[in-house]
Symmetry: C2
Subunit: 462 residues, 2 copies
């Protein structure tokens, strides 16, 4: 796949611009070029995406967005995951992008902190359903979209985030535009304009964290990216250097960047296989402690028998999640004591562990009061040690060196299936859950994406 | 109208946040509070907006956008100016916002360089048509929208623009959100969220100048602002300090700001009456010279008789528009010699003066070669003096101290009517042109905005 060999760019003189290199990658990548590991990672990522999106389908923010966008009474082109009413492609992509990020339980590109699946899968799903494309097209579009986004995110890390931007909103727009460009069959020249139109629509402020506007960012990125590609296909123009120009995205929206990350080994070294998946619906700094709590439960320790838990953690864990007496679901995510308590009581820490009701429940409140944080600078950021003592004198010490879901200890396919079941089985039943899992694992064997999208169960009404 | 007297904000402690002050202004302003001069300025501004928008209705960028948004097959809620096919409110607002800015012939807020009408009127027109509201509601919404946008733009001038942002796209989003909040009847608390949702969608890079993406910015601002208000009305939340928070719009998107401009005499001193209107479809630095050229023609000088034109101009005029041999329509805007030539030949300089064909036409090319620029640091930026000599020895000296359309010498109502006729009469005929002018001047006398919107002639097919 000789992606970088074009002799001349639109600027002439034999130079190929960064935007053109990325656009060329988008236009020229074929399914048959993709390594098997990359294809399989798309399936893993999609299983994770579908679970968190379907799991969030009944949430208020999702319902509001779906209702507002239905006011346009659009053609029923694309499925809103878990909802009965289909919307036009862009609107469905917006709602699905919002739902995907609502629990903050989607995947994370490890080099940056981009959540690539939230803005990009909605675009791929909507277009491939509407155009009735096979899974191969869906997979290829996702790969080019996520590579473009991952690489731009890597290039602006950490400056862009530190400047106050929510990278999943801003850079997600490029990913959605690239994926849509692929599914709509844009040429390299058209894809340059699509990327420029993405650059000039990129938005999302970190100020929104803690409100519904945060997950709106990847939803809007999906909408904007789809618009960018749709306009560019029809001949709409943008700057040819929307990304790298003097007043382009890099110059205006990030105080620093490492442009080499954009193109180094593009099409050979795939960023998307460096995704992380979260086993628990809270920040990753708590995950090793939750792993340890679940292991304590597995060893037969019952919450009611616990006298004390000493939790040895890296200083950052206390700094970010040291809240001892959380009162709301959201505060529960910032309380490693609560995370340990629900891990030990329930053996898991999904979205249900971070509702207001669960945080205020008697058993969780009682157990987390028995947790004593011990800051240990020698612990790794993704490590934890619990020393659990029971009222009858038993003591268990559990050390987790690397949390489940870390790059070095990724979630297995089976663990991703379990997470999917946790998120959807209660609302759709075991059989339909398994059917969805099977459909995702066989993505890329010729099946219709329209059939897949329309097989997603409706869960809208509880 | 005691707008600033609320005792406590959501943050408690008796402080009212900047976002809340603006939201309160939006929620509480009533038509009866508006000074007559402000109401009349809305009519002037709308006449100008409708002319430039209808004038651009057949342009390729507008057609592409309308076609792409029609792919969603939305309900026919709102008129796309000059087009047969109505779209949903947000989509119609997008296309109309794009069309309004396409010729760069829309109004300009003098303190900043915001073009307030391009993003805000489309939002007002779409919603008031769809909801079948009277002109009074339309006018009130435009006033609160443009005040919010003008003041935010003033507060970030010149830093935001210098940082590479296109203020009409970014700040226009707040204006559209404020106007939509008014028409949708949002409370102060809801309008705070709408402004926050506007902040986090604000976008538009100056890198796009010279491409179709530039006018897309106010179109997107209209779309995004309408979404912001529609979501907020249904309970969707954002940060309460989207504008002024630690990672909000002001902190992230402008290196400097003057927050006092946001609220000083809000609701008493109206920024919108400080709008400028352009008599000519090119940058304002050329306007005094065009005024002088048109005056030379009025004095009976014929282009074919001209031997030489000496044009005494401020140094900035040569710096920005010194192109002697323009080859394209766009280059013609950056050639004061061309501007003088068409002014003298045609007696006007509308969009027709800046097509490729007109710039390459024989008579224009011949006359502009006879123009000699003389830089004179003693001339004002908005002044010019032409010394025109004819082949038969006649010489006329015409000095313009202040260009038509400058704040000190605004375009009269009659001049705005003439501009409107220039833009639309050829495609819709004299009678329908006059009917539109009459309808705009009587805005606010109870007539239905739906009737007005649906009376706009279709010019789509040439």
């Amino acid at each position: 796949m000789p992606l970088l060999t074009r002799a001349t760019g639109p600027g002439g003189g034999g130079r190929t611009s960064l935007s053109e290199i990325l656009a060329d990658f988008v236009a020229r990548t074929r399914f048959d070029d993709l390594p098997g590991a990359v294809v399989h990672e798309v399936r893993r990522s999609f299983l994770n995406w579908l679970g968190v999106t379907l799991g969030a389908a009944r949430e208020e923010a999702v319902r509001i967005a779906a209702r507002v966008l239905a006011q346009a009474d659009p053609a029923p082109q694309a499925t809103v995951v878990g909802h009965r009413r289909r919307l036009d492609c862009a609107a469905a992509a917006l709602v699905n992008g919002l739902a995907a990020h609502l629990y903050d339980f989607d995947d994370t590109h490890a080099r940056s902190i981009l959540h690539p699946s939230a803005p990009i899968f909605p675009t791929c799903l909507a277009l491939s359903e509407h155009l009735d494309l096979p899974g191969e097209a869906f997979i290829t579009a996702y790969v080019v979209g996520s590579e473009v986004a991952d690489r731009i995110a890597a290039a602006v890390t950490p400056w862009h985030n530190e400047a106050g931007w929510h990278v999943t909103g801003t850079v997600g727009t490029f990913g959605a535009a690239a994926a849509a460009s692929k599914l709509l069959g844009l040429s390299t020249a058209q894809a340059v304009h699509a990327l420029g139109l993405a650059a000039t629509q990129a938005a999302g402020l970190r100020e929104m964290f803690g409100s519904m506007a945060k997950p709106l960012h990847p939803g809007k990125a999906a909408w904007n990216g789809l618009l960018a590609a749709s306009l560019a296909r029809e001949g709409f123009t943008s700057s040819l250097q929307g990304l790298e120009g003097r007043r382009g995205f890099l110059a205006v929206m990030t105080p620093g960047s490492n442009p080499d990350a954009l193109t180094h080994d593009l099409g050979r070294d795939f960023e998307m296989v460096k995704n992380r998946y979260k086993p628990y619906a809270c920040g990753v700094v708590t995950h090793a402690a939750i792993d340890a709590a679940i292991e304590a439960r597995r060893r037969g320790i019952e919450a009611a028998q616990v006298e004390r838990v000493e939790a040895f953690v890296h200083p950052l864990v206390q700094e970010l999640t040291g809240k001892a007496e959380p009162q709301t679901g959201l505060e529960g995510k910032f309380s490693v004591s609560h995370c340990i308590a629900v891990g030990l009581i329930d053996g898991r820490a999904g979205p249900g562990a971070f509702t207001d009701a669960r945080v205020r429940s008697h058993d969780a409140a009682e157990l987390r009061r028995k947790v004593q944080l011990v800051v240990d600078p020698d612990m790794g950021e993704e490590a934890a040690r619990l020393v659990v003592r029971t009222v009858d004198g038993r003591q268990e010490t559990i050390t987790v060196d690397l949390a489940t879901g870390s790059l070095e200890r990724p979630m297995s396919d089976r663990a991703l299936e379990e997470k999917f079941r946790m998120l959807v089985e209660a609302s759709v039943g075991r059989e339909r859950t398994q059917a969805l899992i099977d459909a995702v694992w066989s993505l890329g064997a010729g099946a219709s994406m329209r059939d897949l999208a329309r097989s997603i169960p409706v869960v809208e009404e509880p």
